[in-house]
């Protein structure tokens, strides 16, 4: 897909996110909006996938370790053709496969059940390890929150992956500088971020997580490794794309009300039109 088309898609995905969460009257808009370019690049540019055959054994794998950002993933999956777009209306509804957090057993293409933060990178490392055993070439991607990096298990997985030279494993950090109760640097400082990953034996690149060109290029780089796992630190803005949600942690886990939803959709529509020209 051309970069301009990808860019336009990010506005549609952001609209899906606020609309789904607004309709469900619960969810995590800020956390979902910051990761849009990352999952867009992965699903439309980087990963080898067959949406009509979700369990294709050669497919690349994506684990959303920060499971509360799942509306962004659902939108991307729908737009990639895994299921019809109107299913997005079912977010968080009783009986829906679109659970409040990713549910491996209910929705094909969800590669792991997450929602208890800190567990995804271990699963992704296990997946990467399985490729070696099965003599397959697939790549394992994991998306983590910056607050999530507080969890010790993340660093256990990081040490394991480097020790076993899991070059088919990529960690992506959605570095939006906020966690639930406030800014990461006030609650549990994770700087120096790049040094930490490097010290654990990973190769690291930093990008602007909303610059699609940079993100795509850097993800190609992480996928190309032949000796070590690679980590992408994506500097992002929590709530990106909706001005009153940007860097406003009130929208970490609060749905927009009717007026806010209308305002958000109008803003995204206008921004999309400006890009579309």
């Amino acid at each position: 897909m051309k970069l301009e088309e990808l860019k336009l898609l990010t506005y549609d995905i952001r609209s899906d996110i606020v609309e789904m969460i607004g309709r469900a009257e619960s969810g995590h808009p800020g956390s979902s909006l910051s990761m849009v370019e990352l999952v867009t690049a992965l699903f439309f540019e980087i990963m080898e996938l067959r949406p009509d055959e979700p369990d294709w054994p050669e497919r690349d794998r994506f684990v959303l370790s920060k499971g509360h950002g799942v509306p962004a993933l659902y939108s991307v999956l729908a737009r990639a053709g895994y299921f019809p777009l109107d299913k997005l209306r079912e977010l968080r509804r009783l009986g829906s496969p679109l659970q409040g957090h990713p549910d491996y057993s209910r929705l094909p293409a969800v590669e792991a059940s997450t929602g208890s933060l800190g567990q995804g990178l271990s699963i992704s490392a296990g997946i990467a390890l399985s490729a070696c055993h099965l003599d397959k070439n697939f790549h394992s991607f994991c998306l983590l929150g910056d607050g999530e990096l507080n969890e010790g298990q993340v660093w256990e997985a990081a040490a394991f992956a480097a020790h076993h030279k899991l070059s088919n494993l990529t960690a992506i950090v959605d570095y939006n500088k906020f966690q639930l109760d406030g800014p990461v640097d006030e609650i549990m400082q994770m700087e120096p971020m790049v040094d930490k990953w490097q010290a654990f034996g990973w190769e690291v690149q930093e990008v602007d997580g909303h610059d699609l060109e940079q993100v795509v290029e850097a993800l190609h780089w992480t996928k190309d490794s032949d000796h070590l796992p690679r980590c992408l630190i994506a500097h992002t803005i929590k709530g990106k794309g909706v001005s009153f949600m940007e860097n406003n942690n009130k929208f970490h886990g609060k749905a927009p009300d009717q007026q806010e939803l209308a305002d958000a959709l109008a803003e995204l529509r206008k921004a999309r039109q400006e890009v579309a020209g």
Binding site: G115, G147, N150, Q179, L180, M188
Partner: protein, 312 residues
């Protein structure tokens, strides 16, 4: 039967903890990046120097509490019930309970009534896990008044305690200032045909079921067993001896919770016809709290139906 809807028990806990801070200067509060949800932020605002938001790291948080407790402070540790009891269970076991340290664990979002976030954020194993730790006190208050009554009493216990609070606003079943005692079950309604024993959010459901059954001329006793451990054996046995039939209802899976504890007590001492209403061998899902309580069979009609089964 209509109950006034009160505060969520987590809100009442936040207030009670804040007030307790005045009385006890040795209380230190730890939270794992959920202080807005567990309501420990109220304590944090008043006593910032005695509050630590440790970030998203439950295992480390419980270890820190062990260190604080071994030096004589009284840590109150909070997160969601699912994360605190599941992610830090071994730290509770080896760092806190085995050395007999005194840490107060207070976890919100107990049960499935947390709702839309789905199964990973709900907690249907916490009572089983906590009760399995030797000498651990395990409490589940029903409403805001019960929470206010029980919270200060945590300080009276020298062993570690677990108090489960809930996310949704809770129906009021007690009067303000009610005299509840940790370890003493409360007979809320007297009856002679059958006993319903329950805790937490389901106390109101049990009272409603009893009311419905009264209309069918059954006399049903309702016991709020807000302390699962130590279990008030005397009150429960007396009630079972009087009525000869027991239904237990709990917002927990059926393995290892309040119902299991009571079945053990009755089985050993005074077997009576018995039915346990809980979540069967499954996880729940996303939905509103009210929907889930209904779909997973925990509301008053299900409790009444179970009672009818034993009464007929």
């Amino acid at each position: 039967m209509k109950f006034e809807i009160g505060l969520a028990t987590r809100d009442a806990y936040g207030e009670a903890l804040r007030d307790l801070g005045d009385e006890y200067s040795d209380i230190v509060v730890l939270d794992g990046d959920l202080s807005q949800s567990t309501k420990t932020y109220m304590f944090a605002e008043k006593f910032p120097e005695r509050f630590y938001n440790v970030g998203i790291q439950e295992a480390n948080m419980v270890g820190l509490a062990a260190g604080l407790a071994s030096s004589g402070l009284t840590p109150f540790v909070s997160s969601f019930a699912c994360f605190l009891t599941n992610r830090a269970y071994d730290q509770m076991r080896v760092s806190v309970v085995y050395p007999r340290l005194n840490v107060k664990f207070v976890a919100s979002h107990g049960g499935i009534s947390g709702g839309e976030d789905g199964a990973t954020q709900q907690s249907i194993e916490d009572l089983a896990l906590m009760a399995s730790l030797p000498e651990m006190v395990v409490c589940v208050p029903a409403d805001e008044h019960a929470t206010r009554a029980l919270t200060p009493q945590l300080m009276e216990w020298e062993s570690s305690c677990y108090l489960r609070t809930g996310r949704p606003r809770a129906p009021i079943v007690y009067q303000p200032g009610v005299d509840l005692k940790i370890g003493r079950a409360e007979v809320l309604r007297e009856g002679t045909d059958l006993t319903i024993i329950t805790c937490g959010l389901l106390v109101a459901e049990a009272l409603e079921a009893a009311e419905a059954l009264a209309a069918e001329s059954f006399s049903v006793e309702v016991v709020d067993c807000h302390t699962m451990k130590p279990l008030d054996k005397k009150t429960i046995l007396q009630s079972a001896q009087k009525t000869g039939a027991v239904v237990v209802a709990e917002e927990h899976q059926v393995w290892g919770g309040l119902g299991s504890a009571i079945a053990l007590l009755l089985g050993e001492n005074f077997p009576v016809p018995f039915k346990l209403i809980g979540i069967e061998d499954t996880y729940a899902e996303s939905g509103t709290g009210e929907q889930l309580l209904d779909v997973y069979g925990l509301t008053s009609p299900y409790i009444a139906e179970a009672a009818r089964g034993l009464l007929s």
